[in-house]
């Protein structure tokens, strides 16, 4: 068993900011990440961020990852990094099991920040398991991280910001986007993204969904259908699209499996993307000294994940006896920044989710 002070699970925007904040406070930190490089999903985000200058608005996602990693590098004496290290178990006594290079390693942590991120939601339709049906994030990874053209003609399912941004990036890569279908009666994402795509001639079909994928060994066609106001398919409105890929962009759900395993309380909160952990205002779960930040705490976006990470890292370090010299000021600044980021039309959904989470928390007390 290896003993560590603070263990951060996940080296994405939340985990990196948690590690930086904890190291600034004086704590030793171990970052664990299952992929070969840190940065989480920032490394595939080629678009410029919205939000606030404090969270690097107007900077491209992969450049934000570089900025955060160079901050991490300045704490080389305090921050230790293990990559290709997958946390496969978390126990209530803050013991973690990590698999790295085929070996099982046990770690006893004094405090933990779970910044495991989220996974893409799936959609039930006929033949949804055929090769050529992708999560939208996977298509973005293929194109932007590995430089691999994912397909020739794509049907995008979902018009949230991920569906819209990935559609635009597909077009930039020379891939034809046949259409974007959206089951809801209106477009889900920012109008600025939707308008850019519509101007390029891609139809965005609202009240429409994918009915089935067609093909024997891989996708050859997609059949879509119109939906009535009760979201039921309208017979006779099917249309066939010749595509070799169907991209599923129907949202994300928090990765709470480790928290659930350790016995931390979670609750089903649709506004946060599914099962979400019950947290204090300091982002501590119902397990003492186990903090949660970023999409694992409720699906939002990278800007708020960075602030939540900073908050959780500061609070975890304080718990370990390393209060930051400006602890109170930075914590109130973080809360103010989160309130600011959640102040837009999309933020109200998150706020409703957090309100529900607090209700569950206060009821459980």
């Amino acid at each position: 068993m290896i003993a560590k002070e603070l263990v951060v699970i996940g080296g994405g925007p939340a985990g990196l900011c948690a590690a930086i904040a904890a190291a600034e406070s004086g704590s030793r930190v171990l970052i664990l990440d299952r992929s070969a490089r840190l940065g989480g999903q920032l490394i595939k985000q080629t678009h410029k961020f919205f939000g606030s200058e404090n969270q690097y608005a107007k900077t491209r996602g992969f450049d934000i990852a570089k900025i955060l990693l160079s901050r991490v590098d300045t704490f080389a004496d305090l921050i230790e990094i293990w990559v290709e290290a997958t946390v496969v178990a978390l126990y209530p006594d803050k013991v973690l099991t990590v698999v790295q290079d085929g070996k099982y390693i046990k770690i006893q942590a004094k405090a933990i920040v779970v910044a495991a991120g989220a996974s893409e939601k799936f959609l039930a339709f006929e033949n949804n398991d055929l090769p050529g049906v992708y999560g939208a994030g996977a298509v973005q990874t293929l194109m932007n991280v590995y430089g691999v053209r994912p397909a020739d003609r794509v049907l995008m399912v979902g018009s949230g910001n991920i569906g819209l941004i990935v559609s635009y990036q597909l077009m930039q890569a020379g891939v034809k986007v046949a259409a974007i279908v959206e089951a809801a009666p209106r477009i889900g994402g920012y109008k600025v993204h939707a308008s850019k795509i519509a101007r390029l001639g891609v139809p965005i079909l609202t009240s429409t969904t994918v009915l089935r994928a067609v093909g024997e060994t891989c996708v050859k066609q997609a059949v879509t259908v119109k939906l009535d106001p009760a979201w039921k398919p309208i017979p006779g409105t099917e249309s066939v699209h010749d595509v070799d890929a169907i991209c599923v962009a129907v949202g994300l759900t928090p990765l709470t499996s480790l928290l659930a395993m350790a016995g931390a309380m979670t609750s089903y909160i649709p506004e946060l993307g599914g099962y979400a952990p019950i947290l204090t205002d300091e982002h501590e779960s119902t397990l003492a000294d186990v903090f949660v930040a970023g999409d694992a705490a409720g699906v939002e976006e990278a800007s708020s994940a960075m602030v939540e990470g900073r908050l959780a890292g500061l609070c975890a370090a304080k718990r370990l006896g390393y209060p930051h010299a400006d602890f109170d000021d930075i914590v109130s600044e973080c809360h103010a920044q989160l309130a600011g980021l959640r102040n837009g039309p999309f933020g109200c959904k998150t706020c409703a989710g957090i309100a529900k989470m607090r209700e569950v928390r206060d009821h459980a007390r």
Partner: protein
């Protein structure tokens, strides 16, 4: 152009590029089917790219159930299609 990395897929020599994972190199080479479903043997391909979905489990250098989408490609790797749940050796 990035440097080439040689590997084999079911015995066939292939090349990927520096920075590839096993699955991204296979995708670039036009390999769509990475695994089969355990009961009905339906073809399964690249799906999540972040090690979540198990759709890309393959045998790499004799080891079963390797998540090829998060496994960096290394020169000389022997990549094979896996049937069923895989074998511990």
């Amino acid at each position: 152009m990035k440097q080439e990395i040689p590997f084999t897929f079911d015995g066939v020599p292939m090349t990927g590029r520096v920075g590839d994972t096993v699955a991204s190199a296979l995708h670039a080479a036009g390999v769509m089917k990475l695994s089969s479903s355990i009961k009905r043997h339906r073809p399964r391909g690249f799906y999540c790219a972040i090690g979540n979905c198990s759709s890309c489990h393959m045998i790499v250098d004799g080891k079963s159930n390797v998540k090829t989408c998060v496994t960096p490609l290394r020169a000389g790797m022997k990549v094979e299609t896996q049937t069923g749940k895989g074998v511990v050796r």
